[in-house]
Amino acid sequence: MTARLLICAAGPGTTLQDGGRHGYLRYGVSAAGPMDWNAHGRANILAGNPEQATAIEVGLGGIEIAVEDGVVSLGFAGAPFSVMLNGQALPPAGRIRLSQDDRLAIKAGAAGAWFYLSPAGGFDLPPVMGSLSTSLRSGIGGKALAAGDGLPLREAMALPELGLELPPSPSGPIRVLLGPQDDYFTPAAIERFFSTPYRLAPRSDRMGYRLDGPPLDHSKGFNIVSDGIEMGAIQVPGDGKPIVLMADRQSTGGYPKIGYVIRADIGRLAQLRAGEAVRFEASTIDAARRELFAGLGSMRDSLAQTFPLGGGLSSEFLLSLNLISGAQSMAEEG
C-alpha cells in the first residue's frame, strides 16, 4: 500500500497547484498555478520532482499534516513560515522525512504569504484537463484542502533531510513592463505610478491584488474592447486603482492594462501581506528576460544551496533564524 498525506488542519484557500492548466485559456479557463512560481519550483526540486509538479500551496492560515501507511520525503519552501516537526523548529525551506506518528505544522511567520509543500514522487491523483491545479473561482480541479482530506501519493524513495540556504531575498521596487494599453494613461499617471508607493488592499486574493494609492487617470476612458490577460497584468478600472491579476485571474478583460509585473518579481509581489507597501519601477523586455532567467537558474540550482539536516539543529542555527526574520520585519516597515 502506498502512503497517503493526511490533512489534519488547513487554513482557508489551501490548494493543490502544479505549473498550471495550460491550453484552455482560449476557452476562458484560467491557468491557475502557484502564486510564487520560484518558491513552488524550489519545493518541487528539493523533493526531487519536476519543477512544475503538484505541491500544496499554503496561505496565512497554515497547515498541519501527517502521513499514513508509509514514509514520505517532503520538499518545502516559500515565505519564512514557522515549520515545526513534532514540536521541533526546522529551517523555513528544505527537505524532511515524514513517518507514521509524525506531525508537521506550518504557520505563517513574520512576513510573506505563501508556502509550498511537495511530496517526493508526487500525488497519485487524476488530472483535470491536464492539470491538478485547483481553480477555486471556477471549481475546476476540486475544492480547497480541508481537515480530514487524505491525498494518495506515488511511491518514492526516502531522501536525506536537508535545509535550504535561501539566497538573500531581493528588495527594491517591483519591476513593470509597460503595455499593452499604457497609451490609455496620461504621462502624469504613468509618472505617478512609478513614483508613489501603493499598499496592498485587504480585498486581495489569488485572483487579484488590489492596490491602494493615488488613482491613475485614464487619457481616453476606462473601457477597452476586451483582450487577453496573463498573470501579472496591471489593470486599472474606472476608479483608477490598479489591480494586479494573479494566478486565478480571468482570461480576458475590458479595462486598460498599464503594464505587466515582470515574471521575476511576481512571486515577491505575491508574498506581500495586506497593508504592506510596494513601489513599482519601469523595466525593459531585455531586463525582464535577464531577471527571469536568473531566477529560473537560481531555482534550478536549489539542491546546491542545501546543507544536511539531522541530529537536531544547533542553537546557532535557531538564533540565525530569529535574526533573519527580525531583519526582514524591519525591512518591511522601513
Binding site: 495550460h22 476562458g28 499593452p180 474592447v225 487577453g228 497584468a233 482570461s251 480576458t252 515574471r263 525582464a288
Partner: protein, 244 residues
C-alpha cells in the same frame, strides 16, 4: 489607428505578445484575428504555448526560454495567412433557448426599458444569428456579437451576486451564454439546457471561436426534458450548415 500600422505587436509581459488588429468590435477585424490564429496553429512555432483569440487581438503565450519576442514577431510577420480558409471552418450551432418568465428573470425589465413587449424581445433575441467572438471571464462563457440594436441596453445598476448556470444574458450591445454560477451585471433573458462547458463530456467546450450561434425557442416542459439529457452528457444544440 491607421490601417498601414496594423497589426500592432504589443508586449503583455515577457511571456506573451498581443497582436492587435483594431480597437473595436467588427467582423472584419475578428476575421483577421482568426486567420492569424489558424496560421499560428498550423506553423507549430517552437516555444509557443497557447493563443487567446479575442474581438480584436490575438494573445500569444510563449516560453521565453525557447523563443525571444523579436524572433517570434519576425516569424509572425512572415506567416502565410489564408483568411478565406479560416472563415470556411466556421460552423453554425442552433441552441435551444427557454424564455419562460420563471427562468428569464430580467425579461420583463428589459422589455419595459426598451419599450418592447416581452414577446418582441424574445423574437429579436432568437431571430438573430450571432458570431462567437471570444470566450472569457469564466470557463466556456461565450461572448456573442450580432445582437439587434433594439436590445442594446446598459448593464444592471446592481450586479447579481450569483446567476444560475447556462444563462442567456444581454448588456452593452452584446449577448453572452454563461456556464457556471457567477456574479453578473448583465440581464438574464433566458436559459439554455446546452452546456457550453462540460468538464466530463467530449467535447468539453461545445463551440469554437468564430462559430455562428442561433437560438431555437423552447417551452418550459421541453427545457426540462432537454436539461435532463444535457445533464446526462448529451449535447442538445444541433449543427446547421453555416453561411447557407
Amino acid at each position: 489607428m491607421s490601417a498601414a500600422a496594423l497589426p500592432r505587436f504589443l508586449f503583455a509581459g515577457e511571456c506573451a505578445l498581443v497582436v492587435e488588429y483594431g480597437d473595436r468590435i467588427d467582423p472584419a477585424i475578428h476575421d483577421q484575428v482568426l486567420a492569424l490564429d489558424r496560421a499560428v496553429a498550423a506553423a507549430a512555432i517552437p516555444g509557443l504555448r497557447e493563443t487567446v483569440p479575442t474581438y480584436r487581438s490575438l494573445l500569444i503565450d510563449y516560453d521565453p526560454e525557447q523563443i525571444a519576442p523579436d524572433a517570434l514577431i519576425e516569424r509572425l510577420r512572415n506567416l502565410p495567412i489564408d483568411a478565406a480558409q479560416a472563415k470556411a471552418r466556421a460552423r453554425r450551432w442552433i441552441v435551444p433557448a427557454c424564455y419562460d418568465p420563471a427562468l428569464a428573470l430580467d425579461l420583463a425589465f428589459v422589455a419595459e426599458k426598451q419599450g418592447l413587449t416581452p414577446e418582441k424581445v424574445v423574437a429579436l433575441h432568437s431571430g438573430a444569428i450571432y458570431r462567437l467572438y471570444m470566450y472569457g471571464f469564466a470557463p466556456g462563457f461565450a461572448y456573442l456579437g450580432g445582437l439587434p440594436k433594439a436590445l442594446d441596453i446598459s448593464r444592471r445598476a446592481e450586479p447579481r451576486p450569483t446567476s444560475p448556470p447556462n444563462c442567456l444574458l444581454i448588456a452593452g450591445g452584446q449577448a453572452l451564454i454563461t456556464t457556471v454560477v457567477m456574479p453578473t451585471g448583465w440581464h438574464i433573458i433566458g436559459r439554455t439546457p446546452e452546456r457550453f462547458f462540460a468538464p466530463n463530456r467530449e467535447p468539453v467546450f461545445l463551440a469554437a471561436v468564430g462559430d455562428e450561434i442561433g437560438f431555437d425557442p423552447v417551452d418550459a416542459a421541453s427545457f426540462a426534458m432537454l436539461e435532463a439529457r444535457a445533464a446526462a452528457g448529451e449535447p442538445v444544440a444541433r449543427l446547421a450548415a453555416a453561411r447557407p
